[in-house]
Subunit: 328 residues, 2 copies
Amino acid sequence: MATLKDVARLAGVSVKTVSNVVNGYSFVKPDNRRRVEEALEATGYRPNLGARNLRRGRTGFIALVLPELSIPYFAELASLVIAAAQEHEWNVLIEQTFGTLAGERAALTSLGPHLVDAAILSPEALQVDDFQLSVPAVLLGEHAVDVPISRVGIDNVAAAQAAVRHLISLGHERIAAIGAHPHRGTAALRLEGYRRALAEASLPFDDDLVVPALNYHRADGAAAMRSLLDLPTRPDAVFCFNDLLAIGAMRAAAERLVRVPADLAVVGFDNNEESVYSSPSLTSIAPDKSAIAHAAVDLLHRRVESGELLDDVETPFSLQVRESTVAR
Amino acid sequence: MATLKDVARLAGVSVKTVSNVVNGYSFVKPDNRRRVEEALEATGYRPNLGARNLRRGRTGFIALVLPELSIPYFAELASLVIAAAQEHEWNVLIEQTFGTLAGERAALTSLGPHLVDAAILSPEALQVDDFQLSVPAVLLGEHAVDVPISRVGIDNVAAAQAAVRHLISLGHERIAAIGAHPHRGTAALRLEGYRRALAEASLPFDDDLVVPALNYHRADGAAAMRSLLDLPTRPDAVFCFNDLLAIGAMRAAAERLVRVPADLAVVGFDNNEESVYSSPSLTSIAPDKSAIAHAAVDLLHRRVESGELLDDVETPFSLQVRESTVAR
DNA sequence: TCGGGTCTTTACATCGTTGGAACAACGATG
DNA sequence: CATCGTTGTTCCAACGATGTAAAGACCCGA
């Protein structure tokens, strides 16, 4: 592999001059520049990033810490983050925590400042005192603990409210919620949105209709739905805190021969691609994932480049109405 | 951030002695070792990986080059590869190609040897002469071009044959195939498995029943299915070359009020988690993704450690029978 | 006490790159 | 013609770690 030294020898100039050409320094004689460029071409020179970063004190990597790549929402997000990071010549290192406190702590401690320049965190279990970060970071979504780290994400309360309002506008009165969670910040916010929508329509809040879910996987949604269907009086609609829960819920409903949306309307959250093709397709809150990815990466870039402290960013969302609430 | 120098000063020894302790060198006096360890603890020293790798000529990263993370199969695989790589203290760098030749070429050229120690490639469009790699690599799946790079994956012909045999054993005689592709190696192999299964059952091979798909997304499956349903004589079963195509196909069938499996049996390939919860759930070929991830990473690790040249690895698969072929 | 081997530690060079200082060449200015 | 500022180039040190070689400490038997 060619180094600056090799290129310099070939071009008959000093190493630094080659470095200057590579880095776009203006004051290089046209003649030398040409010779260097030819030599670069001939040797196929590629900078040694390790060495460059050692010198510059940067690594060229950012970390993306998330629960699990096999969850569609995070896979889609990761895809967008990678693309956004590329625009700033950043490579993305993905760390999976599997939603556990131990996993999140491990990820955080492994993020030494020589490994990454910055980090995007999507924590689920972290406590306040865990946030002793050695690099700039942003949080995705919301988090219950109050830490001095910028957040990027949608207004969860408003989004949940919009989802439930939609159900109410269709005439549903006994609306369940799946996905309550003791520690998850977003769960509390979405529950609050659910509450508010009920309240503004003067519908009663019924504890029996709020079902917790520990993992937000499809299986949890199915289990929660079964317990709802076992109630003396079934709900006529259900708001699930993510699409996977909703998919599981629709599956459980189908197994009990409960028709969606005729007998039960379902709304999800995340707008996974999967939900567009399910039968019935799923009405869902659609956060602008691309906006989230870009905002997070841009925020970090500005932070790293100029050191400025940063505000939170609220990204837009929309409600995608599909067959699970309105029959085609 | 503490460096070896800081630790050395604190412990009152030379930098190299600290380095020796950090790297587990045996011959360090117990007394010095203790003092160094205390100093390491006190400073919270973490090695600068860039510097270490510059010196060692290793980077500690491997690349995983795949079409797109938002495709469930690749997301699941990436998740497993990251976990497997961790066992060898490797970090994983994910590069997305979006299935284009340009994207794959770009990914390959960006993989200088100072960026990654090795690469796992899942190419779709690459040509023979593109494989001028500067680091050890393995290919996932099959590829039409014949290059001297180890492959890891299942026997695609046998797997496709098993899928179609299953349909035949259920009495289907007019079996379609969705996913033919001019350049994709796996597509040719799966088509060959389909052919063989038909041949061994003395069923005719009908060109009209083989539908190409360019992108293997849900939308492509839906479009292909619609064209099949427009045929004068509809198929009574369809074998899709991946689960996304199958999900799209089932969606299109539902829109035309064609019942699955009563009017049309469907088999997919990949066994995505999504397919377990779809309605109806999807019968699918299940490659052992964990085995694939481990085999690929282990292969590369041995290659990098000992330099040995490596054979291909064939990983197991199974057929998961669900509602899309056998009503519950 | 000396020679010889085994431990243990250190100084130094090095990996490939870039920042900074030094220096050289140049035309322009007074 | 001396001085000056602007360009253009080179040399040297440094980023933080580790391999090498050599030196120092130690213990053994002769």
